[in-house]
Structure formats: structure tokens, C-alpha cells
């Protein structure tokens, strides 16, 4: 009985301390107008952080969706709320293209 209660308590503790699926921060570097990596695998709840090494401002823009401003020599970030695959680009320099695969 006592052993049973302990074992229940034990599994409960384990359940409580077992880490939830941790949200990750994924870094994408922008150097000389190139997103690197160009394609990222992520999960809902993860944060994408763009690190802009250029002296000019960029954006990460999804057509008909969200936009992140990334000032020169600075960072911009977004926490992903929706699953699915999206293409994004820089609104100031539409020749810059990136892709996100967001798993649920």
C-alpha cells in the first residue's frame, strides 16, 4: 500500500519534472543579402531570430502574412504561432528569399 502510494507519487513527480517540449530559438544570419540557413525546420512555439550583419535594413516578410523588421547590425524575431510551410522575402530587397517549415 505504502509502496504503491510511493510509486504513484514517484511517477507524479517524474511527470511534473519531465521537461515539456522546449521551445527553441533558431538563429538565421543575414550577411550580404543572404538568409542563412535559407530554409529552417521549426515547431509552433519556436522563435526565429534574424541577425542582420549588413549595414542596411532588411525585413522578413510573408506575403499576406506577418513581417519582421530587422534593422542594420541588429536583430529581429518572431515566435511562430501557426504550423505550415511559408516562403518569406525582404520587402526592401525582394531578391532575398527564405523558407520556414513549421511543424505543429
Amino acid at each position: 500500500m505504502r509502496a504503491g502510494a510511493l510509486s504513484v507519487l514517484g511517477s507524479l513527480t517524474l511527470a511534473l519534472v519531465a521537461p515539456p517540449a522546449l521551445a527553441a530559438t533558431i538563429e538565421v544570419t543575414i550577411d550580404r543579402l543572404v538568409y542563412s540557413p535559407a530554409s529552417v525546420e521549426a515547431k509552433v512555439g519556436d522563435t526565429i531570430e534574424w541577425v542582420n550583419k549588413d549595414v542596411i535594413a532588411h525585413t522578413a516578410t510573408v506575403k499576406g502574412g506577418w513581417e519582421v523588421m530587422i534593422p542594420p547590425k541588429s536583430k529581429g524575431r518572431i515566435t511562430l504561432k501557426q504550423a505550415g510551410a511559408v516562403d518569406y522575402f525582404c520587402r526592401f530587397h525582394p531578391n532575398m528569399k527564405g523558407h520556414l517549415n513549421v511543424a505543429p
Binding site: V55, A57, P72, F92, H93, P94
Partner: protein, 134 residues
């Protein structure tokens, strides 16, 4: 430098948000690129000299700016953006076929290559804005 003057003119004259926003992007980017070029000129202790390519670009840009100054409203917007497409095409052509291949200094070559990517971006951005004006 001349592209910045055209941008300032557009910021002053245009009433169209897309055109004003584009002009502000041009002003900001071209100032940043110019600063990098001037920093490199200082570092390399070289003196930029006029040449046939730079003279032709300057002459065309000056004539275009004089034309733009006389236009108003939609006519101004269209002429400014069409000129931005044409101007960036011309600059990119010069960079690709002449300036980058002739650059011997690695830092200069890299600056010109980055400049080409930026200006190719501007050309596409200008084409997009031109599409919204139709």
C-alpha cells in the same frame, strides 16, 4: 549621390504612400552604401576619378532629375519609379560587365558585389512599386 537627390525630391513631392516609402528606402540604403564606399576610399588612400561610365550615369541622372522637377501627381510618381527601374538597370549593367570584372582590390570587389545585390533588390522593389501604380 544623385539617386539620393531624386529620392529627396520624391519624398517632398509624392502623395502616394508606396512611392514615398520606396524613396525613403532608397535614401537610407544609398546613404549606407555611399558611406561604406567613402570609408573604403579613405582606407585604401585612393582618389576616385571620373570616367566615361560615371560621367554618362551622372549626366543621365541630372537630366532625369530636371525632368522630374517639372512633373506633379501621378505623372511624377510614374516617371520617378520608371526612372528608378531604368537607373538601377543601368548601374547593375555597369557593375556586372565593367566595374566588378575590372576591380583588382579584393575589398573593393566585395563591396561592388554586395552593391550589385542591393541594387538588384532595388530594381525588383521598383518594379513592384511600378506595378501598383498601373
Amino acid at each position: 549621390m544623385l539617386d539620393i537627390e531624386a529620392a529627396k525630391l520624391a519624398i517632398q513631392k509624392s502623395k502616394t504612400k508606396e512611392v514615398v516609402d520606396f524613396a525613403k528606402d532608397m535614401e537610407r540604403d544609398h546613404e549606407a552604401v555611399n558611406k561604406q564606399a567613402l570609408d573604403l576610399v579613405k582606407k585604401l588612400k585612393v582618389k576616385p576619378e571620373d570616367n566615361a561610365t560615371s560621367q554618362a550615369l551622372t549626366k543621365a541622372a541630372k537630366e532625369e532629375r530636371a525632368k522630374l522637377a517639372k512633373l506633379e501627381g501621378t505623372a511624377f510618381d510614374k516617371a520617378y519609379i520608371e526612372n528608378e527601374v531604368a537607373y538601377h538597370k543601368q548601374v547593375n549593367g555597369a557593375l556586372e560587365t565593367l566595374l566588378i570584372p575590372s576591380a583588382n582590390n579584393a575589398e573593393l570587389k566585395s563591396l561592388l558585389e554586395t552593391g550589385l545585390k542591393i541594387f538588384q533588390g532595388h530594381e525588383q522593389h521598383a518594379e513592384h512599386v511600378a506595378g501598383t501604380l498601373k
